[in-house]
Amino acid sequence: MNLSLSARRWFATAATAVLATAAAILGTSGPALAVPTYQGYIYEGPSVSYGFFQANYGTDTFTALSNPVGTTTGKCLDQWFDWGVGANHFDARVARSCKSNYNRSSGSSTETYDVVSYNKVGACYGNNNATTSGTCEFIRGSKASLLPSFPNTCTRAWWRTSGGTLMYGSGGNSTSCTS
């Protein structure tokens, strides 16, 4: 696939998700619809860098993957995913790669908390540890309130350091930003 540098697109197989969600809101009677998988690619940064996400709030599972291509040293690509849990806080999830042509993935991860919706889904490309100040494409929600300086107690993060080590930051307690 050949994309222009300025083209920022997202592609998601979310049509089924939209129809099923709408039906649930209308309160259709009969057997409950299966919660659909919500997944897609978000193209951000130099062509053909992308973030990939896949999530299902029925099974409380998600995958976030960052795949930078042709990126500059000192720059990183993030794939952000934030669950909706109702009124309370829940740490955002993010995969980040700062190494061009090599991805970083959360793998398929299952929450121990009952998540109920999708709050934010987007990708950002920018300086290491300050990616949300660069360029972002959000297909749900926005980059507001996301914290790109890892690790911190408000974000569950998978990233690779500039020195090559694969890192994981649990974010502490998922329901607490401060611990």
Binding site: N127, N152, G163, S170, T175, C177, T178
Partner: protein, 303 residues
């Protein structure tokens, strides 16, 4: 009602307990309802979220297990991925389940300045396995490709940061605390927001306050070791962190006694209804200390 403060240099927490019952103590006759609520709360929190030492042991166990799994996988691909020593990256600021206002401890800061300054000073060393490839581009590519393929192997160790069953019980406990606060101090959230605004801080929750603090700090990459305190805006950000922590506590501390007093019944019920699960999770936290030591003794770590 704990006040937690941090030294400038260390990531280990200095905890100052002021006027509150210690975990595991029995109540003396005549203890107030608030003190009783505090004692039950502390007992439950210790079992459910572990002590600071146990939490760090869990992080170390997770690190060593994940990194060793990646290293083992990389070896099968003819590549050396070094397991480096575990180092604490985030200060332990105590536990604030759900950041529920009436129950979260008061703090002198949130550990943000300490964390950024410490990590910036450390920098990000090159993984010793990668360093061995020198200037050989083909060897470097092989190293990155192999470790990319092996990252899946590291995921199983990530779950070791908490004991089995902790997440589900955490969710129930946060729901209990939220319900207690909603009944005992229904205007607390609105009052907190107004109080923080009067202090010049637009925040409707403890989570928001923390995010505002993080957002004040100038961007600092850890790729190369640096003195983060020299970055433009650092002093103002560090001052804001202290101001925000002070305002946060000032804007809710006068409600804590009434909430803890009102919480005795619900916290007692939670403790009784979930006794088996609490015991299991508590035992899980206790085991982290030995498990981390075993991992340390059996993992080849390259300094």
């Amino acid at each position: 009602m704990k006040i937690i403060g941090f030294g400038v240099a260390a990531l280990t927490a200095g905890v100052l307990l002021t006027g509150c019952a210690q975990p595991g103590t029995t109540m003396e006759a005549g203890a107030s309802a608030a003190e009783e609520g505090d004692a039950i709360y502390n007992r439950t929190v210790t079992k459910l979220y572990g002590t600071a030492e146990q939490r760090q042991a869990a992080e170390q166990l997770s690190w060593l297990t994940s990194q060793a799994a990646v290293a083992a996988c990389a070896t099968t691909k003819g590549v050396d991925y070094a397991v480096t020593p575990y180092v604490q990256m985030v200060p332990d600021t105590g536990t604030a389940p759900g950041d529920v206002l009436a129950f979260a401890p008061g703090r002198t800061d949130f550990g943000v300045a300490t964390r950024i300054k410490t990590l910036a000073a450390r920098g990000e060393p090159v993984n010793p396995g990668l360093a061995k490839t020198g200037d050989d581009q083909a060897a470097q590519d092989k190293w990155f490709k192999a470790t990319e393929e092996c990252q899946e192997a590291g995921h199983a160790g990530e779950a070791l940061t908490t004991p089995k069953g902790q997440g589900e019980l955490d969710a129930k406990f946060v729901a209990t605390l939220t319900e207690i606060q909603d009944k005992a101090a229904p205007t607390l959230a609105a009052d907190y927001k107004a109080c923080m605004a009067a202090a010049g801080i637009e925040s409707g929750s403890l989570s928001d306050t923390y995010r505002l603090v993080e957002g004040k700090f100038p961007p600092v990459s850890y790729e190369t070791a640096s003195d983060a305190t020299k970055a433009e805006g650092w002093a103002a950000a560090a001052a804001f962190e202290t101001k925000a922590a002070d305002a946060d506590w000032a804007c809710r501390k006068d409600r804590t006694d009434q909430v803890f007093a009102a919480a005795v019944g619900a916290l007692t019920a939670f403790e009784q209804d979930n006794a088996a699960a609490l015991a299991e999770v508590g035992a899980g936290w206790s085991a982290k200390l030995n498990d981390a030591q075993k991992a340390l003794a059996t993992t080849e770590v390259v300094k």
